[in-house]
């Protein structure tokens, strides 16, 4: 799979399946393979980053994620799917970014209670709604929800990516979905 870097991200084509042979070519330092791998994975990682850290910082965070991924590529063993490895790195970096930012930010990430809440949300696009809602739930729950809903990972893959017991994925997703629903309905979301 080779998507151009500037093409919009396709509508949910299911989880990326990176050819292990491509990863191996990258590990041996093949520049064309590195480009192919980057262009295959970057758009989805960028989208995940956008939803995890917000649009302003997503490009920086994505760049950091791939700088790390490429310089640690030799540590990828091939036992797990490459995507699991990459997404683990991505989620960790995004969550760490949020923690650091929380420490240094003077304004809280949450949108302030404002007239927006009472305003009819019919005009809000799906993206705005989700941005507002994601900003108000715990980043860990945001991550697990997105790995399932947007990246369509199985519970086993989610458990590996987030390094959590597989048995807890369902209950965490329950919590994520409940919290999102309640935030969205407070925002006036009426599907």
């Amino acid at each position: 799979m080779s998507a151009g870097a500037s093409k919009p991200i396709a509508s949910n084509p299911g989880p990326t399946r990176v050819d292990p042979a491509l990863v191996a070519r990258c590990q041996s330092g093949n520049p064309a393979a590195q480009q192919e791998l980057y262009e295959a994975c970057m758009p989805r990682v960028y989208r995940l980053a956008t939803r995890l850290v917000g649009p302003q910082d997503a490009a920086d965070v994505t760049q950091t994620i791939f700088l790390q991924a490429f310089s640690r590529l030799d540590q990828f063993q091939g036992a797990a799917r490459f995507e699991t490895w990459l997404y683990r790195l991505a989620v960790n970096e995004a969550l760490q970014f949020l923690r650091r930012q929380k420490r240094y930010r003077s304004v809280p990430l949450e949108t302030e209670p404002s007239a927006n809440r009472d305003r009819s949300c019919l005009a809000l696009e799906a993206r705005e709604l989700l941005d507002l809602a994601f900003a108000q739930i715990d980043p860990d729950l945001r991550a697990i929800f997105l790995l399932r809903e947007s990246e369509q990972m199985s519970y086993e893959e989610i458990a590996q990516t987030l390094e959590i017991p597989a048995g807890t994925v369902g209950s965490r997703l329950n919590r994520a979905r409940k919290q999102l629903q309640s935030v969205l309905s407070r925002l006036g979301w009426a599907p």
């Binding site: 919009p8 480009q35 980057y38 758009p43 790390q68 399932r148």
Partner: protein, 290 residues
């Protein structure tokens, strides 16, 4: 087997995501057939999924910053700097260096001054960059909000290499005369050599007692370092003339000179803090360090 709403609720995500074993699926479906509450909960899960799908469908164009060519350049620049990818996040770039606290201020100050005298030592690791202007605007902006990321990018951009404090200390010849450590306002966490366009430069990251960070640069050239368009003024700090530059989020940068070395601090909170830094970084050096 029948189960109650509470139990169904517990299993609902697994059921919805197709991760439930067959007997449990039957049990949940049996309950859903008779319980409106749980059915509407399930419908809300579906609504949430369609909202995400709708957003996914709208597509998202990655910015040019993420084009392969731009990224590949960053990657090449970061290659010479191994700590961009520490094997273990916990042993990251801003780790404290193992050196007794009472040596730290002296070591920072000394290493800045040594930058003048140790060009032979440095040339072991590559030729000096051609003189030019260094632009730290982006670093400064990011450092104030997110020092770790800013630091990582800085090191990638200028091929930062950790300088071992022991090496600096060896060149100095211990013991280093130093002030007592009581009430020490800052703690050194990392020391790097950067190949800036203007010259090779030493950069130290220090933490305050509350864990927040400031960056100190030592240059041995007179080239301009750009820090942005903040207002600037000359002040006297600890008997030194300092140039004070306003940064975003009520932070300051300050420049002053010690011998031939130009020092630059990024992220100070106020003039008093700069004064403490100037005092802290005043070199207590032996007259000769050869």
């Amino acid at each position: 087997m029948t189960i109650d709403c509470h139990e169904v609720e517990r299993l609902l995500s697994s059921y919805y995501d197709g991760e439930l074993d067959r007997p449990s699926v039957a049990t949940v479906e049996h309950h859903l057939a008779v319980c409106r509450e749980c059915r509407s909960e399930l419908r809300r899960f579906e609504d949430l999924s369609s909202l995400v799908r709708e957003d996914d469908r709208q597509g998202l164009v990655p910015p040019p910053q993420l084009d392969w060519n731009t990224f590949a350049r960053q990657l090449r620049e970061s290659k010479s700097y191994p700590a961009v990818a520490p094997a273990n996040r916990r042993s990251g770039l801003l780790d404290p260096v193992a050196v007794s606290p009472r040596w730290r201020p002296a070591i920072i100050a000394a290493s800045f001054l040594l930058a003048v005298g140790l060009s032979a030592w440095w040339s072991l690791s590559g030729p000096r960059a051609t003189p030019g202007e260094t632009n730290l605007e982006a670093f400064v902006r990011q450092f104030i909000r997110d020092p770790e990321t800013a630091q990582m990018r800085l090191l990638a951009q200028y091929r930062g290499e950790p300088i071992r404090t022991t090496a600096v200390a060896r060149h100095l010849g211990l013991p280093i005369p130093t002030r007592p450590s009581a009430g020490e306002p800052f703690r050194l966490v990392s020391l790097h050599k950067l190949r800036m366009p203007c010259c090779d430069c030493v950069e130290a990251v220090c933490t305050r007692n509350d864990g927040t960070k400031i960056a100190v640069f030592g240059h041995n050239c007179a080239a301009r370092v750009r820090l942005g368009n903040g207002k600037s003024q000359q002040v006297r700090c600890d008997g030194k003339i300092c140039q004070l530059i306003e940064l975003p989020e009520s932070r300051f940068a300050a420049k002053w000179q010690v011998g031939n070395v130009r020092l630059l601090v990024v992220g100070a909170r106020n003039k008093a803090e700069i004064e403490r830094l100037v005092e802290w970084l005043r070199p207590d050096l032996p007259s000769s360090h050869s």
